[in-house]
């Protein structure tokens, strides 16, 4: 038995003792019976069954192991490891997550799904990450696709798709309680219990509560963004012969408080600094049925209902969404493999307005319908496939849209895949584009009148359009090293912009004021190009390392005759270079050490310098039932800011975490 020795003597000693424990796995196997052996998981599900290596897209999968190793407490933090994805923490619980640029729009071009349910908010055209607090230990995997996924995924899969899949109830049996805290007075507790209804039916129920203390502002003051959150839910999985039924439900309730300058009137001093408490509540119910007709044909049907409520002094939104989705996957012949389906969604909202933010009409019901068809044509068996696809959509704003895609997959050898893709995707208009009216900060003009800028949505706002050209290469370089590289050119048109309108006088609400309007329109176009690459090295049975790097450059221009209002911001808000290095050390059968380092380029636009962040996480299995995790985030970098300006951006500094897990 050879030894592995490291620079830090401490690790050397532990590893040495660990070698002797290597055989403990084998001796535990010896005690099992045949059925027990059949239950042993020896490889990741993904690598064998899913033909991920043949996917014609820039896909990155965050596995259960990645989640456990990162010690991560939230989904946005987990997404930092994906090349091409930019994650910026704005404040305590709010994050900006985007793929391939467009950082200032708050994920408007991302489709984010949790177990098939879209969590994208059509009124803000973005995702509120603070309410997507799934228990990380219940996540099976997160699939992140950068680039358009229009054909096979849902609405708004323009710059990327984030597909979060929770574990099957069969895999979360027994009792588990987790309590975590950090040195910033935040804590999270969750309890999960999984049981068996019958041999083929399993369930789990869970409850989670978290409280987060606010971060400090980089300017020194308190960001006053405390947050409290409770969530409970269940999942049930049944196997009915060859078919599968899955039912999920959850409800949540919480509030976050943030100090804001609230517009209270058009009389000086105009605004009041208030503690704006946002009430968050909602729930969802998802039912999914997978019918396996034969090994060549399966039909998946899904319905869900989702309710979200988000209310504070600035605005309040209540939304009900009903969604039906059916897909059929059929391998018609040795040459043709079809997937086709239809989706129908009705979403209905109502708004409470404030002086500063108004929505006209303040209640609306929208319908979205889609039909898609994709054929994987085998040109040469297990070598070359051509995949044409098309999605036809209808929505109440821009009516019909048409999103075609053509992909090619070539596997010259069993260990290499080359893929390329040309596709068109659209970001359908949302409530915010047509119906919004928002005032900015009023001032007293030179003539003594009250002057106030305002942004107005425009009826007839068009869908934003993308033509994407992508090329990628994946290779298993050796039995221990794999690499993935993707390059892309994105050509955008009809991007959100605004035109400056003639000032006009508004009498109400009194006193009269002069409005300087900006009307939203689609007068911006531009492009993004970049490269994303990822390497994985399984150095030994106990050491795993990976590295990711991405580069992006963006350029935007207004259409002829139009004003360039947002172009510069869009160009400069995304850091050009980002890199991640991760290392995992299995110290023994009970202990693991994980280290991550992130490099994020500067954002000169907001005076945010580049930063390097290093995290360490140590996990130790105290006994069969107890596990302790200790982590330090941001060990080395000075306090840094990731988003916002010097006045209002939050300070991200060193944080220590402690987590205890009890389970049986």
């Amino acid at each position: 038995m050879k030894k592995v020795c490291f620079i830090l003597l401490l690790i050397c000693v532990v590893a040495d003792r660990a070698q002797a424990q290597d055989t403990s796995y084998l001796s535990s196997l010896a005690k099992l019976d045949i059925e027990g052996l059949m239950n042993q998981e020896v490889s990741s599900v993904l690598r064998k069954d899913q033909p991920l290596n043949r996917a014609a897209a820039a896909i990155f999968v965050i596995s259960q192991e990645d989640i456990r190793r990162s010690g991560s407490r939230s989904i946005p933090e987990l997404l930092r490891m994906v090349p091409g994805v930019t994650v910026k923490r704005e404040s305590t619980g709010t994050y900006q997550v985007t793929a391939r640029g467009f950082d200032s729009n708050g994920s408007s071009k991302l489709l984010v799904l949790i177990d098939g349910r879209s969590v994208y908010s059509p009124v803000f055209s973005g995702v509120f990450w603070d309410v997507q607090d799934i228990i990380p230990e219940d996540i099976e995997r997160i699939e992140v696709i950068r680039g358009p996924g229009a054909v096979s995924w849902g609405e708004n899969a323009v710059n990327g798709v984030i597909n979060i899949i929770t574990k099957n109830s069969k895999d979360t049996q027994g009792f588990r309680a987790i309590a975590g805290t950090n040195n910033k007075s935040s804590s999270t507790t969750s309890i999960t219990y999984g049981g068996e209804i019958s041999e083929d039916s399993h369930y789990r129920i869970f409850g989670k509560y978290s409280s987060r203390d606010s971060l400090k502002l980089s300017s020194g003051g308190d960001s006053d963004a405390d947050a409290y959150f409770g969530r409970a839910g269940f999942r049930m999985d049944s196997k009915i012969e060859d078919d599968e039924l899955t039912i999920l439900g959850d409800i949540y309730n919480g509030d976050t408080t943030q100090s804001v300058n609230l517009l209270t009137s058009f009389e000086p001093p105009f605004t009041e600094r208030v503690k704006n408490e946002t009430d968050l509540s909602g729930g969802s119910f998802v039912m999914k049925y997978r019918h396996v007709q034969s090994k060549d044909s399966e039909i998946i049907g899904q319905v869900y209902y989702d309710r979200t409520n988000r209310e504070n002094l600035q605005f309040g939104e209540g939304r009900d969404t009903y969604d039906v989705d059916v897909q059929h996957h059929i391998t018609a012949s040795e040459v043709h493999d079809f997937v086709y389906g239809a989706n129908f969604r009705v979403t209905s909202d109502s708004f409470n307005e404030s002086l500063g933010v108004q929505v006209e009409p303040n209640a609306r019901t929208d319908t979205i319908a889609n039909f898609f068809l994709q054929d994987e044509i085998t040109v040469e068996k297990e070598r070359v496939s051509v995949i044409p696809g098309i999605k036809l959509g209808y929505n109440d704003y821009s009516q019909f849209n048409f999103q075609p895609a053509l992909k090619l997959v070539w596997t010259p050898t069993k260990k290499q895949t080359v893929w390329s893709s040309i596709s068109r995707a659209v970001r359908s208009p949302a409530r915010i584009d047509e119906d919004i009216k928002a005032y900015g900060q009023p001032t007293i003009g030179s003539s003594g009148n009250v002057e106030v800028p305002a942004v107005f949505g425009t009826k007839g706002f068009d869908a934003e359009e993308l033509y994407a050209y992508e090329l990628g290469y994946r290779s298993q370089l050796s039995s221990t090293v794999s690499m993935d590289i993707a390059a892309y050119y994105h050509d955008y048109d009809d991007l959100l912009s605004a035109s400056v309108g003639d000032p006009f006088i508004e009498e109400t609400p009194a006193p009269r004021h002069l409005v300087f309007p900006l009307y939203l329109n689609n007068s911006l176009n531009g492009s993004a190009r970049g490269i994303e690459t990822f390497f994985n090295w399984k150095a030994t049975e106990r050491i795993d390392m990976s590295a990711g790097y991405s580069f992006i450059t963006l350029g935007f221009d207004p259409d002829a005759g139009a004003a360039d209002l947002f172009g510069d911001t869009l160009e400069n808000r995304t850091p050009h270079n980002q890199a991640t290095i991760r290392a995992h050390f299995k110290l023994s059968d009970r202990a693991e050490l994980n280290a991550v380092a992130y490099y994020v380029d500067s954002i000169p636009d907001q005076s945010i310098p580049s930063y390097i962040r290093t995290d360490l996480h140590l996990g130790y299995q105290i006994s069969d039932a107890w596990v302790i995790d200790v982590a330090a985030q941001n060990l080395t970098s000075d306090d840094h800011r990731e988003a916002g300006t010097q006045e209002n951006g939050s300070k991200i500094d060193r944080t220590y975490f402690l987590k205890l897990t009890y389970g049986f």
């Binding site: 010896a30 020896v42 030994t540």
Partner: protein, 186 residues
Amino acid sequence: MRLGVSTIYRWGRAQKSLLAILLGFFVPITALQAEAISKEYQVKAAFIYKFLNFVEWQSSINNRLICVYGENPFGDSLEQLIQAHDQSSSTKVRLTKNIADIASCNVLFISSSEKSSIEWILDAIKETPVMTVSDVEHFAQSGGVVEFILQEGRIRFNINHAQAKRAGIKISSQLLALAKNVVMEE
């Protein structure tokens, strides 16, 4: 510049980052252990070891001979399993790359390195009471007795009962019930 304690305190952010990266990503400085035996093969070794309890050979001799033909993927897992159970066990393990050695084996694991010779090996010993085991694709169909397959990250096995009967090996119905597929007749 002397690397004293005071120097470290004056290091700038970049240097601190570098130190942390080195601490977190240190490079092993002595020879690394040759790739440890994967979980997959440790479990397969355990299976082979357990199979002995479910199979009867006509010969009444107690000592069993487990042979591994071709590249050995098990390391010393088989030996360890036997030792752990019974230090003085008469079950032995033989690693061989010589076709002449296999006739006296009770259990013969054919490694994937010998994939191209499988057909004629099986043909050569088809009347001999040898329980052939492998994880090469279509092994059971080709006349092997036990074929390991990987399904959703877990190990399953197919049994060619017809071949077992032809070779004079009796397989317990308990084991047949646990197999994913059983080949009954040719």
